[in-house]
Every structure is written in C-alpha cells, then in structure tokens.
C-alpha cells in the first residue's frame, strides 16, 4: 500500500517576516507570517478576526510541529491556539501562487 500524505520536507525562516516551506511533493511556498496570524484558524479568531493595525508588528516566537498533520505557531502577541493544518497551508500557498 503506498500512501503519499502531505508532509513538510524543509521549513526555514527566510527573513524577519517570511516563512519558507518545502512540501513533500517538492513544491516550495513562502508565507508572510502576518498573513498567517490574520488567517489564524482557531475558534476564537474565527469568531472575531484580529484588527489589521495590530498585525503589522506581529511575529512568531516559535513554530512547532503538531503530530503529522499541522503546525502550531506561538506569536509574540501572546496568541498560540491556532493549529495550521498542512492542508490549509498548502492550499494557501497554491492560492497565493495563482494570484501571483
């Protein structure tokens, strides 16, 4: 049985606001960490999105793997409850690529 599930091959900090991920299918995407904070998938942020003016200064403190399917980002604004699934991040990368 061969199963190709989505996984991260490499993850790195490109610059102070950009996260790079190389996926298991060898596609590489760059992510603005402020966008990730704005799109936080946690229940609290689904109910109320963080205000835009607060996002400019926000940066991650640590990014940690969650099981085999997601990332958890601990932001310097004290927010750390978002679980970013690989699927969510991959879709986001592809969407951004389409929009150029």
């Amino acid at each position: 049985m061969s199963q190709e599930s989505l996984a991260i091959k490499e993850i790195w900090q490109k610059n102070s606001i950009t996260l790079g991920i190389k996926w298991s299918d060898n596609q590489e995407f760059l992510y603005d960490v402020r966008t990730l904070r704005a799109l936080c998938p946690c229940a609290g942020c689904q109910a109320q999105r963080p205000a835009n003016e607060l996002l400019e200064q926000v940066r991650p403190k640590t990014i940690t793997s969650v099981g085999s399917y997601a990332l958890k980002i601990d932001f310097n604004d004290g927010h750390n409850t978002g679980i970013y699934s690989f699927e969510f991040l991959k879709d986001l990368g592809e969407q951004q690529k389409k929009q150029g």
């Binding site: 991260i8 993850i11 403190k61 940690t64 793997s65 099981g67 085999s68």
Partner: protein
C-alpha cells in the same frame, strides 16, 4: 529586502525523559467493543516473540482494560518519572493501574488529554521497537489529542463483520487520513465461532465486513480472528503470554495477523520528511 536565510529547523526530541521509540502504532476502530485491546495485546506478544522490544499504552481513560488483560506488575514512580508495569517483558501503562477499578474517571476532554500526555511523557519507556497505543473508541477529543501529542507511524484498524460496525470504522479511517497517519490495514475480529461439537464455523455477526472495508479503502485485510472462549478467558485472567492456552488454529490466525502487519508496515516508507521539529524565529 535582503534575504537572511536562516538554518533549517531540525528534528527535536521534545520528551524530557530520554526514550527512544522507533515505531508508534495506533490500534483503533472508532467502534467500541470490537476487541481493540485484545488485538493490541495479541500484537504485542507476537512482536515480543519475534524479538522486538514492545510497550503498550492504554489510551482508554474512561474504560481502561489493559491492567486486567495483561496482569502487568504495578508501575513504580521516582519523582516525576513513572516506570511502566511489566507483563512477559512487555511494558504496560494504563490508567487502570492507578485508579480504583470500580470508580469512574469523570473527566472532561482537556483533563483526560492532560492525563494521557502525562502517561506518555512521564513514563520511562526506555528504548522500544514498538509502542502500541490502544485507542479508545470514537473520533473525538482524545483521538485528536493523541494525534497531536504523538507522531503515529501507522494505524491498525479493528472491526467486527457487521455493517453497523463498519459505519464507525469508516469514520476512524477518515480521521487518520485527515491527520496524515498511514494505515497498516484492517483486522476483522469475532469473525466466526467454531462449534466444538461439529467443528463447523458459524458466522454470528455476518461475513466479509473486514474484506469489504479493505476493498473500499484500498487497504490490506491483515487477517481475521474468531470469537473464542480461550481468548475471552485469556483477557479476563491475563493469560495472553502463554500460548499453551490457545488452539493451534487460533495461534495460526494470530500469527497471520502479525505477519501481515509487519509486511504492510515495511511498505509504509519513512519519507524523507521532518517528523517533529521546533523552529525558533529570529527577530
């Protein structure tokens, strides 16, 4: 802006206790009462006999079975470190070893998840080839917490033959797919009952459920186990370590499940991916 390429994140072992666990195997179903614990213990003994170092973590907080089923020695504690109980050289940890068996664990999800986290992190498992996680039924809080806490290498699904059971097992398959956990295959339990008088097999719960499910999802049917008095007695009395209690036919059925499992596990290639990491952001 000038690119400041930072070093890659590296794999980290976040456990405070120095354990070295090569493969974490989930034994799960979605459905309750299909024999997840029985299959967990049988698989543990099969692997042990093959020379592997094996541990079992009973992740069923609300209905722990493994203390009774393995009759493992009681765990001990030094400071914050828990040393697992032992049964035929298999390390065993279950909430049932710490709690009054007649008292219910009345806990909400987050508390139950904390308890499980402790049972995994604070236990000195040492070096294991296999840590078998005996999952509780369902696809909810605990199952999600387990999948966040651990990097599960493969899941083995247990079902009984009837459609009603398959309904729940399909949900467990879907859950593991969502959580990116590879599936090693399906064991059909309580497949048949062999009459001791006429030696005929009776299919009390219907026939072919495991095969149907395996075909539906392109998974391997690892084998089927009978409904059997000796298995029931072994569970009640903690006799799984002693093969002399089991008939040659039953031992053969168990062996087939174990061998197929190892075969399927070998096919799940460890991809060159990061499995567990922390990236520290530099400002």
């Amino acid at each position: 802006m000038v690119d400041m390429e930072q070093p890659l994140a590296t794999d980290t072992n976040t456990q405070p206790i120095k354990n070295k666990i090569h493969s974490i195997i989930a034994v799960a179903s979605g459905k309750g009462g299909v024999g997840k614990s029985t299959v967990s213990v049988l698989l543990a003994h099969f692997l042990k006999k093959r020379g592997y170092r094996v541990g079992i973590l009973d992740a069923d907080i609300y209905g722990p079975s493994l203390a009774l089923m393995t009759k493992a020695s009681p765990p001990s504690q030094e400071g914050n470190t828990i040393f697992p109980g032992k049964s035929s050289d298999i390390s065993v940890i279950s909430v049932g070893m710490f709690a009054d068996p007649n008292k219910a664990q009345v806990l909400r999800g987050p508390m139950a998840a904390n308890l499980l986290g402790q049972l995994y992190r604070q236990v000195a498992w040492g070096e294991l080839d296999f840590l078998i996680i005996d999952y509780p039924p369902g696809t909810g809080d605990i199952q999600l917490s387990l999948s966040q806490l651990l990097t599960v290498n493969a899941a083995l699904l247990v079902t009984t033959p009837q459609d009603l059971a398959l309904l729940d097992v399909r949900k467990a398959i879907s859950m593991f797919k969502t959580l990116n956990v590879p599936l090693a295959g399906i064991v059909e339990n309580m497949s048949y009952f062999t009459c001791s008088n006429c030696q005929e097999k009776h299919y009390l719960l219907g026939q072919g459920g495991g095969a149907k499910l395996a075909k539906e999802f392109g998974l391997c049917e690892l084998g089927s186990l009978p409904a059997n008095q000796d298995l029931t007695r072994a569970g009640d009395k903690g006799l799984f370590g002693d093969d002399s209690y089991f008939s040659p036919q039953l031992l053969e059925a168990i062996e087939k499940v174990g061998v197929s499992f190892l075969g399927e596990l070998a096919k799940i290639r460890p991809a060159p991916n990061l499995s567990s990491f922390t990236l520290n952001w530099r400002s």
